[in-house]
Symmetry: C2
Subunit: 434 residues, 2 copies
């Protein structure tokens, strides 16, 4: 560092909620460390909030403003957007970039809906766009994917990226609770919203899956490209049956290359994971992302996926990176969609199913059921018969097949006389082998 | 990217062993992807090997040279050093930097012994120094520590960073094998060298611990600062006793801030870890590093710690980063030792001990032993008495105390009439509470 104190790097903050107030606190509390790590002090020049008359702990009152557009246009070195939602966040980010500011955002919904617009504006204006906090909160995950693994070839990403649903499924697993009771507990503890749809419906995870897929496969992927199924249909019986077979149920965000390498498939759904898989022990509100790469092999990144302080930590890491770039004249990585892979339907994904059937107890039932699998080209890995008479049950786990063929098989099973009802159907992920 | 093909980024490779040959292979196999990600093609201009007359798969014969110094001095954009050892690696790296080359190295021994010299040379010559592959092989770990967590405050790093010892301890755990048998199996499978001292003595882990500590705490730490104890004293009885108490034994690299924040302590030793801790399920030759940060909370990074292809993946990620910097005129992070914390002795570390004693079976024994703990200010968490008569045993687990006090306690116990022998002593890590 030179002897003269370098000019400060200015930071404007759009949003003063849980994450924004933690970002402001960390900028103040860690000011000396941040200055030493950046090579210049970071100076907060304004915080845009809805009601500027309401004091915020740790934020000097004269920094508060309700004029977000004015703050975004002031040309700060770095603008941090932690408001969430598509608008006005997008317009404000574009305003900031046009004014020459690098932008840090935690806005997964916006990135998954229209990330391309943000990337283009960053490139056009010669500024940085960083968004580590948008997926898996505090876990350093996007920087490793964008940078550390940039010399490798990612085959598949399997993520537990929604803490609310992981908390609910963990409660169902550890306490035998049913879905409604576990959801109520999550709501009581503040892990789930009063309207939990975005979480339990898988939509939050789908936005994150799109972001992960774009980075892993260098292909533009939006939330609309993601096949999405939530956890509202998962029953205590499913959880118990999974445990009996040595599995746990997790809501997974899966992004993978097609076997021929020309396409990418992105999906969110509950899945049975072998209990000795590293993802199986990710409990409660923790997040983890498992990456399979050609040369690096299997990796996992684990940590807190949400919360004010953890998310603010990820935002601050990006602020430091953008600030260093300001000082050195460098630039962070831009959009990388050169691969331009086809985004394919989940029908083409190669998955395996667990199917739990309530069946008639008479000769020939197994033959009829096995035939339904064979008719769709699906090979059976394990069959287990349980009970007799009215309680006769059959559990089938398949080998890998296309998801479309597996879905057609289940449709056919529903129409068989031998099958009284299809009690449970779930995909199985994380198993080696065919 | 501009319409004209940009000039290639040149790469020189020092070392043609397991890692070097994989780096050369990946540069060739992934040439198109790498060019798209960098924005310019990467061109391998030479590979320095001991015997240039011996052909290497995947490396054109005319690129091989036994003149490492000449290749290092050629002014390639990027020089990759994967020879290992202190010299001639250090001199070659300094030659390369003086010629204006950015340097990627996997050389943990050199970084831990004399990283400061390399950092200074990089700064003096305005080039990059990256070394992701030096710790925990393929796991993107150093970039997250140096960059993603640069807005946070790390309290403690706990790592399983040596695959050989983790394989041996996993075998002792899963098969009840004793140390010698597990080592022999590791040697037969190629996980351990014929002379395993560097691994089983903890020295390899100590070098990595020094590198992790320097990055986490912004303080210069060398291998000599690391208190180091290997796994050669771990017995099958220790492993069984740990399991009975719900623990597994791991060789840990621990780097932590002292409670008052003014110092850092770095140590490598076997430790008992609760079996529900995320590190406990890291088995066989896998590596993992657990990080406790103030805002981000607990995180873990898991993956393959060694092997040609995984290590080459980490090297290539650094090559892409350095190449992007060449094109953009940016610079990666330099040395960050601004905090300048005191490096303290393990005596000052606050740890907890498990102590397994063979004791006389007579009244007053427990009182005498409890007194030895009390005399050193050590508080006991659990005592368990096993057996009677000649087989009388006592297992003690303590609360947190300074390592010095715990060590003095054990010395005192050895001198007590009531204690026939100290059968096992091991530190306990990863438990919450006092």
């Amino acid at each position: 560092m030179s002897a003269a104190t370098p000019a400060p790097i200015t930071v404007a903050l759009l949003g003063g909620g849980t994450v924004g107030s933690q970002v402001a606190r960390l900028l103040a509390d860690n000011a000396d460390d941040l200055a030493a790590r950046v090579g210049a002090p970071l100076q907060l020049i304004g915080v845009a909030v809805r009601d500027a008359s309401r004091p915020r702990e740790g934020v000097p009152g004269d920094l508060l403003t309700d004029d977000a557009a004015g703050l975004a246009a002031r040309g700060a070195d770095i603008v941090v957007e932690v408001m969430g939602g598509i608008e006005p966040a997008r317009s404000l980010i574009l305003t900031a970039m046009a004014a020459g500011s690098s932008v840090i955002t935690a806005n997964k919904a916006l990135l998954a809906a229209d990330g391309g617009t943000l990337y283009r504006a960053a490139a056009d204006n010669g500024v940085d766009l960083y968004f580590e906090a948008s997926v898996a909160g505090a876990i350093p995950l996007l920087r490793p994917l964008r940078e550390s693994l940039s010399g490798d070839r990612v085959h598949k990403v399997l993520g537990i990226v929604n803490g609310t649903t992981n908390f609910i499924l963990s409660k169902m697993e550890s306490e035998g609770a049913d879905y409604a009771a576990a959801l109520a507990e999550a709501q009581a503890l503040g892990y789930a919203e009063a309207d939990p749809t975005a979480d339990v419906g898988g939509h939050d995870a789908a936005a994150k899956a799109a972001i992960l897929a774009e980075l892993a496969f260098h292909t533009r992927v939006t939330a609309e490209d993601v096949s999405c199924e939530g956890i509202t249909g998962v029953t205590a019986a499913d959880v118990a049956a999974a445990r009996d077979m040595g599995f746990v149920i997790k809501l997974l965000a899966v992004a993978e290359r097609t076997p021929d390498g020309s396409g990418v498939i992105v999906r969110v759904h509950p899945a049975m994971v072998p209990s000795d898989h590293p993802l199986a022990s990710v409990r409660d509100a923790f997040n983890a992302v498992f990456v399979e790469a050609e040369s690096a092999g299997d990796m996992m990144f684990y940590g807190r996926g949400a919360g004010g302080a953890p998310t603010a930590s990820a935002v601050l890491g990006d602020v430091v990176a953008a600030a260093r770039n300001r000082l050195s004249g460098g630039r962070g990585p831009g959009e990388s969609t050169y691969a331009g892979l086809d985004v394919r339907s989940i029908d083409e994904a190669r998955t395996r199913y667990y199917v739990n059937l309530d069946v008639a107890d008479r000769p020939g039932v197994l033959a009829a059921i096995a035939q339904a699998f064979a008719d769709n080209g699906v090979s059976i890995q394990v069959v287990r018969q349980d009970g007799h008479g009215d309680d006769a049950g059959l559990i089938v786990r398949t080998h890998l097949a296309t998801d479309g063929a597996l879905r057609r098989t289940v449709d056919n099973l529903r129409n068989l006389d031998a099958v009284k009802s299809v009690v449970g159907v779930m995909r199985v992920e994380g198993e080696a082998g065919p």
